[in-house]
Symmetry: C2
Subunit: 474 residues, 2 copies
């Protein structure tokens, strides 16, 4: 690692990803390869999220990559929201077929199918989730994991008989994302509603979870949208009601998180030495590094293997590195770069003392642990690291979220790379003014948990409608 996180964050970020081998640049502009170290993290995220999604009664399905132009255009606002970023398939000469897009999101094709499948109240709720690749032909600068022309995500799409049931689904999905983010990724988030200006194209409202990155920019970590019966009216998703036998429109939702979350983990937890992975998603939770000379080699490796097996049996994801082409010091640096939560060092003296040295990746603390206590202590340490990473990130978020009452305070906060908490009038013109005048600060959300700051809008002084969070955003 050459770049420093605190010094040149925007050089540090790609460097840590490339050198820890999470990902690499692909030969197509704006595209990346997720390498095995990065994909193993995604597999752990997927497994956890998939269980949460299924626990909401949602089933997985697969909808096509291709969306006919006429379907994508059916909802004008939705189409307009995506049009510059849509990639199209080249027409084959003379095939007489309709032009097709690569999915920038799948509402339109899924609703087309839902209108075929939903007939009666007995077909509702219909709750499906799609794990797939998404294409948005970005014109803005792309960034590994955060903004690429292709990315992986899950998109849940549900249809319900009543608005109440649909709105509960919107909230349940957001809660699941928030819990996942905090408990699994160790990243604290704020749940909120988007302003009209930031609402997903075609939605009645959009909710999101937002977090604050070390460079003072907010990152949208996941979204959950309520569509009401807007799309069902466009696409004819109707059902025969049980109560009065009349035809009614369904109410729909969609929600998703993507491989962008890997970028969030890198940014929030990493340091100058490289990645720091929360134990819950670390493909390897502990690495054993033997320290030996030729005469103690056999004994030390034997002990390391014994301990590796014991830890594996105790459910710890543990590897050992017996490669003699590298020094222990080289290995220490390498596994710190990879962000493995615990390093276990074992040498002849440790064997004599019936102990092992354990070093924490998050704090750098190192201490001897009696062999007999290893499983217990490793388990405790992994829990502590998971908690500590969350608390560290929470402290950063709290310290960098500043309550502002005046426009000048607001501008200072954004210029100082803070997240500003401010009263707002709710007018779009005022919202746009903030965007234009604060070096790109924008209303990230209207927190679901409202606290009263002032009667007056911090930006324009008109009566305040609610409290908002304002920051620059990724």
């Amino acid at each position: 690692m050459k770049a420093k996180k605190s010094g040149d964050f925007h050089e540090w970020y790609p460097e840590v990803i490339l050198s820890s081998k999470l990902a690499d640049y692909a030969p197509v502009h704006g595209c990346m390869v997720i390498r095995e170290r990065g994909y193993a993290i995604w597999e752990r995220m997927q497994a956890d999220l998939d269980a949460r999604i299924k626990a909401m009664g949602v089933k997985n399905a697969y909808f096509p990559l291709f969306i006919p132009e006429s379907l994508l255009k059916k909802e004008a606002e939705h189409f307009k929201g995506f049009v510059p970023e849509v990639a199209w398939v080249e027409k084959k000469e003379g095939d007489g077929e309709e032009r097709v897009a690569l999915r920038p999101t799948s509402e339109t094709i899924i609703y087309h199918m839902y209108s075929k499948w939903i007939r009666s109240h007995r077909d509702l709720p219909l709750k499906l989730n799609n794990w797939c690749n998404i294409v948005r032909w970005e014109i803005k600068q792309t960034r590994l994991f955060l903004r690429t022309r292709e990315f992986l995500w899950q998109e849940g799409h549900t249809a319900h008989a009543t608005p109440e049931e649909a709105e509960k689904q919107v909230a349940d999905a957001l809660d699941a994302y928030a819990d996942f983010s905090e408990k699994v990724l160790a990243i604290p988030v704020l749940k909120g509603k988007k302003t009209r200006l930031e609402t997903f194209a075609g939605a009645v409202y959009t909710t999101s979870i937002e977090s604050l990155m070390p460079d003072g920019r907010a990152l949208q970590m996941g979204t959950s949208h309520y569509f009401g019966d807007h799309f069902p009216k466009m696409f004819g998703i109707k059902y025969m009601s049980e109560a009065d036998g009349t035809e009614k429109f369904a109410h729909t939702t969609s929600w998703g998180v993507s491989t962008r979350l890997i970028g969030a983990v890198v940014m929030v937890h990493g340091d100058d030495k490289g990645l720091i992975l929360p134990p819950a998603i670390a493909p390897e939770q502990a690495v054993i590094v033997p320290v030996f000379r030729e005469d103690s080699k056999e004994k030390v490796i034997g002990k390391c293997e014994e301990i590796r097996k014991r830890l594996e049996k105790a459910g710890v994801r543990c590897i050992a590195d017996y490669d003699e082409n590298h020094t222990p010091g080289w290995k220490f640096a390498e596994y710190e770069l990879y962000g493995i939560p615990l390093r276990i060092e074992i040498g002849p003296k440790d064997i004599e003392k019936k102990q092992a040295m354990i070093a924490r990746r998050d704090t750098g603390e190192k201490a001897g642990v009696a062999e007999a206590q290893l499983e217990e202590k490793v388990g405790e340490l992994l829990k502590e690291i998971q908690t500590n990473l969350f608390q560290r990130a929470k402290k950063f978020l709290d310290e960098n979220t500043i309550t502002v009452k005046t426009y000048s305070e607001l501008k200072t906060a954004i210029a100082g790379r803070k997240m500003a908490k401010a009263a707002h009038c709710g007018n779009e013109a005022c919202e746009q003014k903030i965007k234009d005048e604060t070096e790109g600060g924008s209303i990230r959300c209207i927190p679901l948990k409202q606290e009263k700051i002032s009667d007056k809008c911090a930006a324009c002084g008109l009566p305040a409608k609610y409290t908002v969070l304002i920051a620059k955003a990724y």
Copy 2:
């Protein structure tokens, strides 16, 4: 179900898929939606295959959907093999970027990355697997699961220091696929090598597993290719050898299976009533159908729930259907259509007798089982069904594989929808002649396990080189 499997197989096949809700047609020609019932089968297949892939020391990664034209064209034969089916992204005006294809397979982009990542013998073997969607803009008639413009698959790509190691990987992958097919899908397969004419574009040789479908056509179930150092030379995948310090080219392989396997399961095991799913991949292995009148309802449902929980605890994937809008008879037909291996019926009389009636989907046999023996008996029956489905399919394969010695016998066999086992001279002209003169019969493979049939080629009478399998193919 209207169509009969034995009568009009090609109407029966899409009908059983659509009515059992495995899949539906998408609004883009040649594309399909994999519905939740179909995707749940794919998830079970994926989990099993993924464990086998990882057991070979292969890790998952994700390579982009987009391949630059120059990369795809780098190996002329490979490109020529795919060119009519390649879909391209429409160029954005004035972006000055290269034309990009949607991956029809990922050798080229993966080898481009491998050439960056592989430097030393220490970087080998490099063994990665990609679970992804593939695009082949089919011009031929498409068929649900068997031939669609987009499908899901896994593609393993490995690079090795020596040919021996690479060839072992080719064989290991093929063995894993064969074992998976026979043990999990209950479909018997034949392992073989492809003739030059049928070899994957750019490969030194291609091996495959082939099975025989009920309409007498062979289905290629999976392939495993050896590339030697052919692609490494094109793409510059070189490593510094440990032995003599010189630069050498790596040797590569690739291998894959796709959602086509779902189509194979449908065809091989299904019957006039619908699907029959092998217990190993059935999302639900047993369905409990209560039989009650109003006065026994509470008691019967209580007992059903008790049994459902017991079976769930015993590791059986079990559901129960208490819907009062449908008769038990309606439900019997519905779950037969879905192919659930076991149906458990419970009524007041069964409760009195402390038993449940269990019906097998594969044979239709139905018998009372004492409540105390339920877990044990259900476990046994699921194993028996898995075995029986395989044996049934094996019997069909054996009975429909015919040894032929003359050209007229060969023609009769293919016209009679059989798989012919014949001696062959190994000449391409003769192979092409068979294709032209036997209503589309082609050499499916040269079985790895050779048995001698004749000294003379069945088609041309010239000296025989090996024994081949000839059939019409999907």
